[in-house]
C-alpha cells in the first residue's frame, strides 16, 4: 500500500483524488457518529464495530479504484456491450427470484462467493458504459433519428423499465442521468423532449402492469410516499420531521463532530439520512462543503471532457460522474425534504455494503480516463487553447489509439 501511494502509481487528476479522499474521510466521521446508537444496541456499546466495517469497505473500495484506474480506459469500450447484455437477464432474474426486503426484490446473492448485491447498481454502471460507447460511436450522425436516436434510446428504456418495478427512484435517476448524458452527447433537443415523453409512457406501462399484477410492482408504496410528501401534515412524516430537527439543530456551525442527538431517532441515519446528520454536526458550513465537493468533482470532470481528444472518454467520464452526482444530489434533496422519501445513499459518504464497490469501480474508470488525459498532456505539453483548437479541428493525434474502429 505504501508503495502504491507514490506519485508513480496513482495517476490522473490529483484534485479529483483529493476530493474522493475528503468525501471518504467525511463519510468515516459521519458514519462513526451516526451508528453510535445502533452499535450500542447491537454490540453492547462497542461503537467501533461499524467504523471498522466502514474502514474495511473504504479500503476495498480504494483497491477497486486503483485496479480500475490502472487499466487503459479503452478496455471499457470493449467490455461495455458484454456488460450491458449481461445486465438484462440479471435484472429479470432479480425481479423473479431476488431476495425480498421491504416488499421489493432488489437483491441477489452470487452463488460460490456468497456475496449479495443490488442488481440495479450493476445495471446502472453497465448502461452508462454502453451509452457512452453508443453515443461516441454515433457522433458523426448523432442528429439522425433512426440510426442514432433509436439505438440509444431503446437500451435506456429497457434497463429503466426493468429496474422500475422494484426500485422506482433508482430507475428515475438513471433515466434522468441517461437523458442528461444524451444531451451532453449532442442528441438534438427535440429527441430529448421525445425521450421525456417515452419516459412517461414507460412509467404508465409499469403502472398498468401493477393494475394486473399488484404484487409485482410497488405502486402503492410510491403513492403513499408521494401523498405523504404532498400532504405535509405536521411538516412531514416521522423521518422527515426528525431530519428537519437535525438540520435545525445544526443551524450555522453545527453541534460539532460526534454531537448529533438526532442520530438516535433518525432511522437509517448512517445511510439515507447521513446528510441530515452532517447538517446537524457541521451546520450549514459543512452542508455547503459536502455539496461543493460534489460540484467540484463535476467541474473537474468537465475539464476531462474539454481535454479528451475523443468523445468516448469524455462521455464515459461525464456519464459515470453524473450518475454519482445525481444520486448525491437526490440524497441531499431527500434529506432537506425537497423530494419524497427514497432509499438512496450518499455515494462515498454513507455506510453501505456492496454498492460502495460499484461506486469505487465507477470512480476507477473515471480516473482511468483522467490518467489517459494526463499522459497525453505530458507528452504534448501544449497550452490549453491550442489543444482545444486541435480537438476542434479533430485531426487524429498520433499518440492516441483509434477508438472508432470497434
Amino acid at each position: 500500500m505504501l508503495q502504491i501511494t507514490t506519485k508513480k502509481e496513482w495517476k490522473g487528476d490529483k484534485v479529483m483524488w483529493l476530493i474522493i479522499g475528503i468525501l471518504i474521510g467525511f463519510g468515516l466521521l459521519a458514519v462513526y457518529s451516526a451508528t453510535g446508537s445502533m452499535a450500542y444496541l447491537r454490540y453492547k456499546g462497542n461503537t467501533e464495530v461499524y467504523l471498522l466495517k466502514q474502514l474495511v469497505m473504504a479500503g476495498i473500495g480504494l483497491l477497486c479504484m486503483y485496479a480500475c484506474h490502472r487499466q487503459n480506459y479503452l478496455i471499457y469500450n470493449k467490455l461495455a456491450p458484454v456488460l450491458f447484455l449481461l445486465a438484462i437477464p440479471l435484472l429479470l432474474y432479480t425481479l423473479a427470484f431476488g431476495v425480498e426486503t421491504n416488499d421489493a426484490k432488489r437483491w441477489i446473492t452470487l452463488p460460490v462467493i456468497n456475496l449479495s448485491f443490488q442488481t440495479s447498481d450493476y445495471a446502472r454502471l453497465a448502461l452508462i458504459m454502453y451509452l457512452a460507447r453508443s453515443l461516441s460511436n454515433k457522433q458523426e450522425y448523432i442528429k439522425d433519428f433512426k440510426s442514432a436516436f433509436i439505438p440509444v434510446m431503446v437500451p435506456v428504456l429497457l434497463i429503466c423499465g426493468l429496474i422500475a418495478p422494484a426500485n422506482l427512484s433508482t430507475a428515475l435517476l438513471l433515466f434522468a442521468t441517461s437523458v442528461m448524458l444524451m444531451f451532453v452527447g449532442r442528441v438534438s433537443f427535440k429527441y430529448i423532449f421525445m425521450m421525456a415523453f417515452f419516459g412517461i409512457l414507460l412509467f404508465g406501462t409499469v403502472v398498468l402492469i401493477w393494475w394486473f399484477f399488484p404484487d409485482a410492482v410497488r405502486v402503492d408504496t410510491w403513492i403513499s410516499r408521494i401523498t405523504d410528501f404532498i400532504s405535509n401534515e405536521n411538516g412531514g412524516g416521522y423521518q422527515v420531521q426528525q431530519s428537519k430537527i437535525a438540520i435545525a439543530n445544526g443551524s450555522w456551525l453545527g453541534l460539532g463532530p460526534g454531537n448529533s442527538t438526532q442520530r438516535n431517532f433518525l432511522p437509517a441515519a448512517y445511510a439515507d439520512y447521513i446528510y441530515a446528520i452532517i447538517c446537524e454536526e457541521y451546520g450549514l458550513i459543512g452542508a455547503t462543503g459536502i455539496l461543493l465537493l460534489y460540484l467540484w468533482l463535476l467541474f473537474r470532470v468537465s475539464r476531462i471532457v474539454m481535454k479528451s481528444p475523443k468523445a468516448f472518454g469524455a462521455i464515459l467520464a461525464m456519464g459515470l460522474t453524473l450518475n454519482l452526482v445525481v444520486q448525491a444530489f437526490a440524497n441531499m434533496a431527500v434529506s432537506v425534504n425537497l423530494v419524497p422519501v427514497t432509499g438512496l445513499t450518499l455515494p462515498l459518504v454513507s455506510m453501505g455494503g456492496t454498492s460502495v464497490l460499484f461506486t469505487s469501480v465507477a470512480f476507477g474508470i473515471i480516473m482511468s480516463v483522467s490518467k489517459f488525459i494526463e499522459s497525453i498532456q505530458e507528452e504534448q505539453p501544449a497550452p490549453e487553447n491550442e489543444l482545444m483548437k486541435m480537438a476542434n479541428t479533430s485531426p487524429k493525434p498520433k499518440t492516441v489509439e483509434d477508438e472508432s474502429d470497434h
Binding site: L41, R42, Q139, M180, F183, V184, G185, R186, G235, Y238, Q239, Q241, Q242, K244, I245, I247, A248, N249, G250, S251, W252, T261, Q262, N264, F265, P267, A268, C279, G283, L284, A287, T288, L291, L292, Y294, L295, L298, F299, S302, V305, M306, A311, A314, I315, M318, L322, V325, F329, M332, A333, V336, N337, L338, M388, A391, N392, S394
Partner: protein
C-alpha cells in the same frame, strides 16, 4: 462538434449549480429561518427505545411434555386521531355497535359511541379497547368498521403480550412457580429466570401524550431473543399420582396442608414434588412446604440418632433397653410413647420399629449426656446441618443447636429431645436428602429439579448429578440403618401396613406434636404426620418423603395420614417400572419415512425433513402444515385455518395443537401423552365454542 459537447457539459453543470442552490436554500430555510420552531419540536416529538419483551421459554417434563408455556395474547388500543374526520363520522355508529355486541355487552352501543367521541375530542391516541384478547378475537376485531382499515388509517393498535399457561393446571404448580408483573418470579420460573427470560429487544416509540407511547412504524426495531427451554426431571404421571394421593390425604384428614417429594436415589433427580395448602374449602399449590418449611421432624429423625450411636460404636441393634413401660421423666419433663407397653424389654431394633420415644431418648441420654459434642458432630457428618442446595429459592438452613450453647437454650432436655426429633428443625427435602443418602449406599446427592437447558430444541447445558457428600457413614452403620428401616414393616412395626408380596419398603413413620411448647396442650394438640423412606428396599430406585400438616380428622399418626400417600406413590412407581421394562421392545422398530405423521409450523417441518433427509411431496402453501403418510413418500399439505372451522391438529405436538385450538376459542381436553393421535371433532367442522378432546399417543 467538440464545442457543442463542451457547451452542453457546462449547461448540465449549471443545472447542478442551480440544484445546489435549491438544496442549500432548503438547509437555510429549515435550519435557520424555521430553525427555532423545529428545535422546539425536537422535544415534543420525543422518542425513545422501548424494550420488547422476549417470549419466555417453556418448562418441560422429563419426557419433554409441556409443563409451562407461553400463549400469545393481545391488547387492543385505538389511535383516535389517526382516523380522518369524515370516515370517523361515517363509521362510528357501526363500530360502537360491534364493540358493544362482540367485546363488552355491558357497555351499550350508545356508551361506546359517546366514549369514542369524547376521547377523540380529548385527542386520545392510545385508548384502551380491550386487554387480554386472544388471537381469534383479534382476527374478529380486525374486521370491525374502521379497524379493518389497519393501523395507519383505522387507528387500530395491537400490543402483543403473552400469558403463562400450565396445560396440566395445578400439577406441580408451586414447584414450577409463577411470573407476575412487578414481582420476582417464584419456583423454577424464579430460579431459572435468566434462562427462561431471554433477551429483551427494543422498539422506537414516540411520545404522543403523557406516559403514552406509540411505535414508530417498524423502523429501528431490534428483535428480542426468545428464552431458552428447560427440561425438568419431573415425571408427569408420577407427579399426577403423587398430587392425587396427597390431595386425598389432605382432604380426608382435614389437614392444613401437605407435601410429598419423590427423588431418584442414584442421581438426586426430583421426579415429583407436590405441595398442597388448604385455604377454606380450596386445596391448592400455594406454598412450597418441601423446600421452605423447616419444622421439628419428630420420629423420622430417630434414624439419625440410631446411626450416630452405631457410628460411635455405643450400641448393637440387639441391645435391650428399659423403656419404663412407655413413659419416663427426663430432666423434669415427661417423654411418652404413643402407647403404654408392658412385657419384656425390647431390643433397640424393636424400639426403632415400634418408634418408642422413650427408648431412643433414654439411650441417647445415656451415651451423649456428657458427650453432646460428639452427637452434634455425627449429625454434621450426616450432612444434616447443611442445606440441600436444590435449584429453588427460599430454602432455610437446618437448625441444629451447638452442643452446650446456652444462648441457643441448650439444656438437659436437648439430647433426649433431639434424639427423637425435637429441638431442631429441618425441611422435608433436607430430611429426604439424608434418607436418600442412606438408600444410595452412603453417597449424598444434591436434589435437582432441572435436567437440561434447551435452545431451539438443542441441549445447550446438562446438569449432571452432583454429590454433596461422598460417604456419610461407615459401611456397617449403613447396613444396620438399612436393617432398622426394613424392620418397621415387620409385624409390630409402625409401617407394617406397607408390607406386600411384590416389593419391600424401607422407611420410618413420624408423628410430631407441633404445639407442645405453647402452653395449654389441652386446647388440642396439633400434629405433623410424616413418612420417609425408599423402595424397593433391596435395590432402592426412589426415595420419598410425605408430610401432612395438622391432620384433624380420621387419624393423625404418620402411619395413618402420611403412609398411605407413600404407599400409592410406591405402588405406582414399582408397577410402572414393570410395565416400562415390558414395552421397551417395540419402541426400537423405527417407522418407515412414508409412515411419518406430524403437524405443526410448516417452516419447522420442512427444515426438519430436509435436515433428516426425508423425501417428501411439498404441497403446502400455508403457515401451518400437516405431514401425512402416502404410499410412496409423505406429503406435506397446508392446514386450513379458516376462521370458524376446526383445524386438523392430528400429528401435532401439544403446544402447537393448544395454540391453534385455544386461539380459535375451543376448549381442549387431553388424554394420554405424545402427539395428537385423534381429535374428537372432525377437521372442518364449525366452531361453536365446543370442547374438543384430544387423544395423544
Amino acid at each position: 462538434m467538440k464545442d457543442e459537447i463542451i457547451i452542453r457539459t457546462y449547461v448540465v453543470f449549471l443545472l447542478f449549480v442551480l440544484a445546489g442552490f435549491l438544496i442549500l436554500g432548503r438547509v437555510v430555510q429549515i435550519g435557520i429561518v424555521e430553525g427555532e420552531s423545529w428545535r422546539g419540536r425536537g422535544d415534543s416529538l420525543y422518542v425513545r427505545h422501548q424494550p420488547i419483551e422476549p417470549e419466555r421459554g417453556n418448562i418441560l417434563s422429563s419426557d419433554g411434555r409441556m409443563l409451562v408455556t407461553s400463549l400469545p395474547l393481545f391488547e387492543v388500543r385505538m389511535d383516535l386521531l389517526a382516523v380522518p374526520k369524515d370516515k370517523f363520522v361515517k363509521n362510528i355508529d357501526s363500530l360502537a355497535l360491534c364493540l358493544s355486541r362482540h367485546l363488552n355487552p355491558v357497555i351499550s352501543e350508545r356508551a361506546y359511541r359517546d366514549l369514542l367521541w369524547r376521547e377523540r375530542q380529548a385527542g386520545n391516541r392510545y385508548l384502551l379497547i380491550k386487554e387480554e384478547v386472544t388471537y381469534s378475537q383479534l382476527e374478529k376485531i380486525k374486521t370491525f368498521p374502521l379497524f379493518r382499515l389497519g393501523g395507519n388509517k383505522g387507528g387500530l393498535i395491537v400490543v402483543r403480550k403473552s400469558k403463562r399457561e400450565r396445560p396440566y393446571r395445578m400439577l406441580a404448580a408451586r414447584t414450577l412457580g409463577s411470573v407476575r408483573e412487578g414481582a420476582k418470579p417464584v419456583g423454577l420460573e424464579g430460579y431459572y429466570d435468566d434462562v427462561l427470560g431471554g433477551e429483551k429487544g427494543s422498539r422506537l416509540v414516540q411520545k404522543v401524550a403523557r406516559d403514552i407511547w406509540v411505535p414508530v412504524d417498524d423502523i429501528g426495531d431490534f428483535e428480542p431473543k426468545r428464552g431458552k427451554d428447560i427440561i425438568t426431571h419431573i415425571d408427569i404421571d408420577l407427579q399426577d399420582i403423587t398430587e392425587q394421593a396427597l390431595y386425598k390425604s389432605v382432604a380426608h384428614h382435614q389437614a392444613l396442608g401437605g407435601t410429598a417429594v419423590v427423588m431418584e436415589v442414584k442421581t438426586g433427580a426430583i421426579k415429583a414434588m407436590a405441595n398442597l395448602v388448604r385455604s377454606g374449602d380450596d386445596i391448592g399449590e400455594y406454598l412450597n412446604y418441601a423446600v421452605g418449611a423447616a419444622t421439628e421432624p419428630g420420629s423420622t429423625f430417630k434414624l439419625a440418632t440410631m446411626m450416630a450411636l452405631l457410628e460411635d460404636g455405643y450400641i448393637r441393634l440387639d441391645d435391650r433397653v428399659d423403656i419404663h413401660g412407655g413413659e419416663v421423666e427426663l430432666c423434669g419433663k415427661k417423654i411418652r410413647d404413643s402407647e403404654k407397653r408392658k412385657g419384656s424389654l425390647p431390643t433397640l431394633k424393636q424400639v426403632f420399629a415400634q418408634s418408642s420415644n422413650v427408648g431412643v431418648a433414654v439411650t441417647a441420654q445415656k451415651y451423649y449426656e456428657k458427650n453432646a459434642k460428639k452427637f452434634v458432630k455425627r449429625l454434621e457428618q450426616f450432612g444434616l446441618n447443611e442445606r440441600s442446595r436444590i435449584d429453588l429459592e427460599g430454602e432455610p438452613a437446618p437448625y441444629i443447636k451447638e452442643a452446650y450453647n446456652v444462648e441457643q437454650k441448650w439444656s438437659c432436655t436437648s439430647i433426649p429431645w433431639m434424639a427423637h426429633g425435637y429441638e431442631l428443625t429441618l425441611t422435608p427435602l433436607q430430611l429426604l436428602t439424608f434418607y436418600n443418602a442412606v438408600a444410595n449406599k452412603g453417597r449424598m446427592m444434591k436434589p435437582q429439579l432441572v435436567h437440561q437447558i434447551l435452545e431451539y430444541s438443542e441441549p445447550v447445558k446438562t446438569y449432571k448429578p452432583q454429590v454433596l457428600k461422598n460417604q456419610i457413614c461407615s459401611h456397617s452403620t449403613l447396613q444396620q440403618a438399612m436393617e432398622l428401616l426394613k424392620s418397621t414393616t415387620d409385624s409390630g412395626g409402625t409401617a407394617y401396613a406397607l408390607r406386600n408380596r411384590l416389593y419391600k419398603v424401607a422407611g420410618k413413620t413420624g408423628t410430631a406434636v407441633t404445639n407442645y411448647y405453647k402452653g395449654d396442650i389441652n386446647q388440642g394438640k396439633k400434629y405433623q404426620a410424616s413418612f420417609a423412606g425408599f423402595f424397593p428396599a433391596d435395590d432402592p430406585v426412589y426415595s420419598c418423603i410425605v408430610v401432612i400438616y395438622e391432620p384433624s380428622a380420621n387419624g393423625y399418626y404418620g402411619a395413618s395420614a402420611a403412609m398411605p400417600v407413600f404407599r400409592e406413590i410406591a405402588d405406582y412407581s414399582v408397577a410402572s417400572r414393570f410395565i416400562a421394562t415390558e414395552d421397551q421392545a417395540p419402541v426400537n422398530t423405527a417407522p418407515l419415512p412414508a409412515r411419518i405423521r406430524a403437524g405443526g409450523y410448516a417452516t419447522d417441518i420442512r427444515t426438519l425433513l430436509h435436515f433428516s433427509g426425508v423425501r417428501f411431496e411439498n404441497r403446502c402453501l400455508n403457515e401451518w402444515a400437516s405431514l401425512s403418510p402416502t404410499e410412496s413418500q409423505p406429503e406435506l399439505t397446508g392446514i386450513n385455518l379458516q376462521q370458524d372451522l376446526v383445524p386438523d391438529v392430528r400429528g401435532m405436538g401439544l403446544r402447537d395443537a393448544l395454540f391453534l385450538l385455544e386461539n380459535k376459542g375451543l376448549k381442549v381436553r387431553l388424554q394420554g401423552h405424545g402427539r395428537v393421535r385423534s381429535q374428537s371433532i372432525a377437521p372442518g367442522s364449525k366452531i361453536q365454542g365446543q370442547t374438543i378432546e384430544l387423544t395423544m399417543g
